[in-house]
C-alpha cells in the first residue's frame, strides 16, 4: 500500500482575488513505503506546494491526498500529520531559534510530549546521525556555527521526531561540495538503514539520479513525467524541458544514440557510461 497517495491534486493560491494562481493542476502519483522519490522541476513549477500537502500544511483545492491512510482534507488529520511526516524546508537553518543546539533539536520531541530521558536520547541520536558530535555541539548556540553545520542541526531537529516519511525541499542548496555530499549520503543512509520513505526536491538531476528510485517531473503545476528514473531520463519530453541540465556523460550518450550509434541509453551512472563508450570504441577498432 502506498504511504503517499495523491489523486488529481489541484491547488489554487488566493482563489477569487486578482492574485489567484493555480500552483498544481491535476497531479496524480503515489509513493510506497521505503521508497525514494525525487521531485524535479523549474522554479515555480509547484514542487514546494506539492510537498506541503504531504504533511498537511496545505489542503487540496480539488482532488485527494492520503498520507499513511489519512485523508489530509480532514482538519484533525492535518493537524496530527507532523508526527508522521518530517518536512525539511528550503534553507532550514533559518528556523533555528533556541539558545543551544540541544534545545533546538529537542523542540520537536518535546512537542511530541515525550519523557525527558527519551527526549535526550533522541536528540543525541539525531545529532549523531547528521554527523555532529553531541558532546561538543549540544551546548553551543546555533548562531556561532557555520551555515553547513546549522543546516545539519536543522535536519537533526526533524530527524529527532523519528518521522515515517521524510520530505526535503532542496536540502543541498547553497552548501559547499563537501557539505552537499555529506547531506546526500545521510539521506541515502536514512532510506537504506532506517527504511524511511524519502521525498526529495532538487534542481540537480545528478543528485536525483544518484539517489532516487522513481522521479516526478513537474512543469507549470502539471506532472509531465512520473516513474522509474531510467525511463523518465530517456523520455524526450523530459530532455526537452528548459532548465534540465543532464550530466555531461548522459548528454554524450544520448547524442551518440541520436546519431545512430549502438549505445545503451538505459544507463544512469558515470561508470556505466564509461563502459558503453569503451564498448563503442572497441567496435570501431575492429
Amino acid at each position: 500500500m502506498p504511504v503517499i497517495d495523491v489523486q488529481n491534486l489541484t491547488h489554487v493560491y488566493l482563489p477569487g482575488t486578482p492574485y489567484e494562481k493555480k500552483a498544481l493542476d491535476g497531479v496524480t502519483l503515489s509513493v510506497n513505503q521505503g521508497e525514494f522519490l525525487g521531485v524535479v522541476g523549474a522554479n515555480g513549477s509547484g514542487k514546494s506546494t506539492m510537498i506541503q500537502h504531504f504533511n498537511g500544511l496545505l489542503s487540496p483545492t480539488a482532488g485527494k491526498v492520503t498520507i499513511c491512510g489519512w485523508d489530509t482534507a480532514v482538519k484533525q488529520h492535518r493537524n496530527e500529520l507532523w508526527k508522521k511526516v518530517g518536512l525539511v524546508f528550503q534553507y532550514p537553518e533559518q528556523q533555528l531559534f533556541e539558545a543551544t543546539v540541544f534545545d533546538d533539536v529537542s523542540y520537536g520531541p518535546r512537542n511530541l510530549g515525550l519523557s525527558s530521558p527519551d527526549i535526550e536520547r533522541r536528540t543525541i541520536e539525531a545529532l549523531k546521525k547528521v554527523g555532529l558530535e553531541p558532546d561538543t555541539v549540544a551546548g553551543l548556540s546555533p548562531i556561532c556555527l557555520s551555515g553547513g553545520l546549522r543546516r545539519r542541526v536543522a535536519i537533526a531537529g526533524v530527524l529527532a521526531m523519528k518521522p515515517e516519511i521524510l520530505v526535503l525541499d532542496e536540502p543541498t542548496a547553497g552548501l559547499d561540495p563537501l557539505g552537499k555530499e555529506m547531506i546526500l549520503k545521510l539521506i541515502k543512509k536514512l532510506q537504506q538503514e532506517d527504511h524511511i520513505t524519502i521525498v526529495m526536491v532538487s534542481h540537480s538531476i545528478r543528485e536525483i539520479i544518484l539517489l532516487a528510485g522513481r522521479v516526478a517531473v513537474l512543469e507549470k503545476g502539471r506532472l509531465i513525467a512520473f516513474g522509474n528514473i531510467k525511463e523518465v531520463l530517456r523520455q524526450e519530453c523530459f530532455q526537452a524541458l528548459p532548465g534540465v541540465m543532464l550530466p555531461d556523460y548522459l548528454q554524450l550518450i544520448y547524442t551518440l544514440a541520436g546519431r545512430g550509434k549502438n549505445v545503451n541509453t538505459g544507463i544512469i551512472t558515470l561508470a556505466e557510461a564509461e563502459l558503453e563508450i569503451a564498448k563503442l570504441l572497441e567496435e570501431k577498432n575492429k
Binding site: L14, T17, Y19, N55, N79, W82, L87, L96, F97, V158
Partner: protein
C-alpha cells in the same frame, strides 16, 4: 493560516482606474481632508457627505467592495467597544437602564457617530493603500514633507526609511509564513488552548524572524553603500510626480466637501 486565505489588509491591488492614476499626493491629501473633516465635526450630514465621497471613490477605483468590507471583520470588537463605552459613559438624558448603568440618548448618538468616523478612517486609509503602490506612496510622502527640509529635518533620509520599510513588509510577512509552517511541522501549537504554549510557539517564529531581519538590514546597508549611497538630498527619483487636471478636480471636490463640513458646524 489567515494570510493564505486572502489578501492582506489594505494590500495594494494593481489597477488602471481613475483613482489608481491620481497623483499619490492627491490621494494622501484627499484622505487626510476627509478624515479631518469627520474628526472636526460629527454631525450626521457631515458623516454622510464624507462617507458618500469614499464610497464614490471605492466605486471609481473598481476595487471589489467585498474585499474592503472583509477587513472590517477584524475591527468589529473595536467598533463594538467604542460604541458601548460612548453609550454608557456619556452623561445626558437617560433612555433606559442596563444592569444599573444608564444609557443616554447623547451617548447612543455619539457612539453611532464614532463608529462611522472609525469606518471612514478605515475606508479612507485602506482605499489609499489599496490603490497606491508602496513606491508611489513613499514618493508622495517625501514630496509632501519636502518643505520640512528648510527646518533642517532630513526628509530624504526619512523617506528612504519609509520606502525601505514599505518595501520589506511583504518580504517579512512571507518569511514569517514560511517559518510558521516550518515550526508547525515540528509540532508548534499555534492554536493551543493554553496561552503559555501559544506564546512559546510564537517565540519560535519571532526569534528567527528578527535574526533574519537584522541580517537583511545589514546586508542591505552594505549593498546600498557599495552602490555609493550616502544619504542626503542628492538622491533623485526616476519619474517625478506631476499634478494633472484630474488631481486638481479631485482636490477641488474634496476641499469643497471639507469647506461645507466646516461651515456647516
Amino acid at each position: 493560516m489567515k494570510q493564505e486565505k486572502g489578501l492582506k489588509l489594505g494590500q495594494f491591488v494593481l489597477g488602471n482606474s481613475v483613482i489608481h492614476q491620481l497623483d499619490p499626493r492627491t490621494k494622501i491629501i484627499g484622505c487626510f481632508i476627509v478624515i479631518f473633516s469627520v474628526l472636526m465635526n460629527f454631525k450626521w450630514y457631515v458623516i454622510l457627505l464624507n462617507i458618500s465621497i469614499i464610497i464614490a471613490a471605492i466605486f471609481l477605483s473598481r476595487v471589489k467592495i467585498a474585499r474592503v468590507l472583509r477587513g472590517l471583520r477584524k475591527l468589529k470588537f473595536l467598533f463594538l467597544l467604542s460604541f458601548i463605552f460612548q453609550a454608557v459613559l456619556t452623561s445626558g438624558e437617560p433612555v433606559f437602564y442596563l444592569g444599573g448603568v444608564s444609557v443616554t440618548r447623547e451617548g447612543i448618538d455619539l457612539g453611532t457617530s464614532t463608529i462611522f468616523r472609525l469606518l471612514i478612517l478605515y475606508l479612507g486609509s485602506s482605499l489609499l493603500t489599496m490603490t497606491t503602490s508602496p513606491l508611489k506612496l513613499a514618493s508622495g510622502i517625501e514630496s509632501l514633507l519636502s518643505p520640512l527640509h528648510y527646518l533642517k529635518i532630513p526628509v530624504s533620509q526619512f523617506s528612504i526609511l519609509i520606502s525601505t520599510a514599505l518595501r520589506f513588509i511583504p518580504t517579512i510577512i512571507e518569511e514569517a509564513e514560511i517559518i510558521t509552517r516550518a515550526q508547525r511541522s515540528r509540532g508548534a501549537q499555534f492554536n493551543s488552548p493554553h496561552i503559555f504554549t501559544r506564546l512559546k510557539s510564537f517565540t519560535a517564529v519571532l526569534v528567527p524572524l528578527l535574526a533574519a531581519s537584522l541580517q537583511r538590514a545589514s546586508d542591505l546597508a552594505a549593498a546600498m553603500e557599495s552602490r555609493c549611497y550616502t544619504g542626503g538630498s542628492s538622491r533623485i527619483r526616476t519619474g517625478s510626480l506631476r499634478f494633472k487636471e484630474k488631481d486638481g478636480l479631485a482636490i477641488g471636490l474634496v476641499s469643497l466637501a471639507f469647506v461645507l463640513s466646516v461651515v456647516l458646524i
